[in-house]
């Protein structure tokens, strides 16, 4: 006799498998497949020697070795928090005191993903509202579903989240009395996952201004996910949204060592207002009372030795070349293709490809045709949520050039073109057959 069934929590019942599990499984099962789907980092440039040297340095002295192998603190290694603060402030061209920040305002997390989760736990009750970009990072949407938060979206244009649309949405919520439920405005503001687009500098200031303006009875937090910031390969860095929050009141800035260094360290960080930090640390105490201490010591040593900055510079060259290969291949293969267009990101991992007239969705014809041709992408649909609308675009693809090799990139785009051609031919056949 089978045992009685589990009685699961409401939160667990809201939490489903990742929408892309099927795609990851397919990638593993299909030999020879070129994957533009997984958001993994470039394999060949992982800092194997650098991490080896950092650990060798740590264990060379029993004192530093023991410090790295003992428990750390819930908030994270103090010297790493100082370094992170300096990194972000240097990038923004300010001193920490200019923006009312100290290392006490920095928390180290198990990747930036844990920060996204914890902040949600601090703020969201089921039914609360989070405003995201359309499209946005689909793992964040899964997390919001766990928390029972309601997602409302703001469209993007080539300069990122549209502030006029955000303002209209906030105004509409104010009028309907729903502003009280708005907790967070989320932006992936550098080379966005999934579109590769970057938020323009004037919109950064405006975003903080809107959060402040609509924080009438409670504070609306801007969650700035800067995971890809350090992987800019064209143009000058832009100041963070956090830079426009000089009193450290409205913006939580999060980033990670996963992209510009190594995902295996699973070390992220965040800067936030003190009254967000305190409850977040209480929850983190229950989660794990501190992220991996050895990894934090490794990250700290890589920054101190200069290896981190040098490696990030190397990665910018690696990914610039990959971006160029992908964009060139798209121009070659899709130049003559009716109404195909794509973003040309200035950093990060992602190109966003849009078609007219091809259904790229998980149940559409392109997914199987692409698999047949030996290439995998993430259907753009996963980046969208059904909010107030009853349909989302189903003609977009996220193409990640992070993990595919330089040889694979042009070949993968050729295969995608072949898959598109096969569908178009199939359509013509169908049209003929129905005539």
């Amino acid at each position: 006799m089978p045992p009685a069934p589990l009685s699961r929590s409401g939160k667990s019942r809201r939490t489903t498998d990742s929408p892309i599990s099927y795609f990851i499984q397919k990638a593993l099962e299909t030999p020879g497949l070129i994957s533009f789907a997984a958001g993994l980092v470039d394999e060949g440039s992982l800092p194997v020697e650098e991490v080896g040297a950092a650990v060798a340095g740590i264990v060379a002295d029993p004192l530093t070795g023991r410090a790295a192998l003992q428990y750390g603190s819930t908030q994270g290694l103090p010297e790493l928090r100082e370094q992170v603060l300096q990194l972000v402030c240097d990038a923004d061209g300010v001193r920490p005191s200019d923006v009312n920040l100290t290392a006490d305002d920095v928390c180290i997390t198990t990747g930036s993903q844990q920060l996204l989760y914890l902040l949600g736990e601090v703020l969201f009750d089921p039914g609360d509202i989070v405003i995201t970009e359309a499209p946005s990072y689909f793992v964040f949407h899964s997390l919001l579903q766990s928390h029972g938060a309601k997602v409302l979206t703001v469209p993007l244009d080539e300069h990122g989240m549209r502030m006029d649309a955000l303002e209209s949405l906030l105004e509409r919520l104010r009028r309907s009395g729903d502003l009280a439920r708005v907790k967070v405005i989320y932006t992936v503001d550098y080379f966005q996952n999934p579109t590769g687009l970057t938020l323009a500098v004037d919109r950064r200031a405006k975003l903080v201004e809107l959060a402040r303006q609509y924080s009438t009875n409670h504070r609306i937090i801007v969650l700035e996910d800067a995971a890809y910031r350090e992987l800019r390969f064209t143009g000058a860095d832009l100041p963070s949204v956090k830079r426009f929050d000089p009193k450290n009141e409205f913006v939580v800035y999060t980033s990670t060592f996963s992209k510009p260094c190594s995902p295996g360290l699973k070390t992220g960080y965040a800067l936030m207002p003190p009254d967000v930090m305190a409850p977040l640390l209480h929850l983190k105490g229950s989660h794990d009372f501190g992220s991996g201490n050895l990894s934090q010591h490794v990250a700290s040593r890589l920054i101190a030795s200069g290896a981190y900055a040098k490696h990030a510079e190397h990665l910018r060259n690696v990914y610039r070349k990959k971006r160029d290969l992908m964009v060139q291949a798209l121009e070659t293969e899709f130049r003559d293709f009716p109404a195909a267009r794509w973003t040309v990101p200035a950093g990060g991992f992602y190109v966003w490809l849009t078609f007219d007239g091809i259904d790229t969705g998980p149940d559409g014809p392109l997914v199987p045709a692409a698999l047949e041709a030996g290439v995998l992408y993430v259907p753009g649909q996963f980046g969208h949520v059904f909010d107030d609308t009853d349909s989302v675009p189903n003609n977009e693809c996220r193409l990640c050039f992070g993990v595919a090799t330089e040889d694979q990139i042009p070949e993968g785009i050729r295969r995608l073109r072949k898959a598109c051609a096969a569908i178009s031919a199939g359509k013509r056949e169908k049209v003929k057959a129905s005539v």
Copy 2:
């Protein structure tokens, strides 16, 4: 003008600072203090060379180096899951197939603490009931408070959780109609934190039987926290509670590499039924989509090379000696002390000291007297919850011999005796004064 206040979630409002934060802070602020409070591990025996060698081995080959520095999977490194399964089954003297387990039933977490949190998230809605030992691990109680779970407790005797009392409690809950809210029975069954007591073998079988018997409409999960199992220094290992769950239905077994190896790796693991695993992994996907991959590769290599087993053996000798020093010091200092008694643990880190007539609580006289004398303990009261009763014992101390050095242990106990004497003298003064 200050910004509008945050509007925090119900969960965040239920989550408070750790009760022992004050004590940790005191320990940091007081030079020369001997701390029996922090549950840290012995500093001198941390496996600095072993971890150094493991990482050197990993980075020596670019392929293994890159594998360790890339993203891992949500469930954890497959080879480490195989090794963990074998470790636990070897300790229990069974083959995995005897107890219906494969590596698919193993999950790697950010310390065992994360497993405790995630399992709570899978199962608990506010108002659900968790049965724990009295006293129990206070960080688990904090976590239950976050989840809004109600704690009911079962007393311990020298053989661990009393099964007659557990059965009475379950029967009472059945009669009152509250059985439907009982989700978990939690036991720290090897050298319990905080008492050092171990669950007797016949009670292990009985515990699973009771869970099965009372799982009438939904399943009651036994959560076995075996964090200290590998640190046994007297007598033979006992089979796990999990060993008495041959179909893998009722027991979630969790343990960690923090105690028998290194807390800095922050790597724990758990074995659980498949229908617990699936929703737990969905939640872990939202938390972090996988714990630190480099740390998992290090743990796996330490096990494969034999360094892990060798190191655990070394630690058993280290902690046996520390236990002996503490127990000897207690005999020397408290032999003539009226009604002081203490446990003599067969493993782990903790001695449980009970007085008659001295208030050991956070607001009692012993805490400041001990600080004055230069020693710190954890008030036993923190291990208790106010469940159906309106009072908990306030005459107990948790003494951890994990982090104090061999020299500090006898000196710390001398200081504690001095503090007790000062209070007793103070009391006599008061009595005299009031006569």
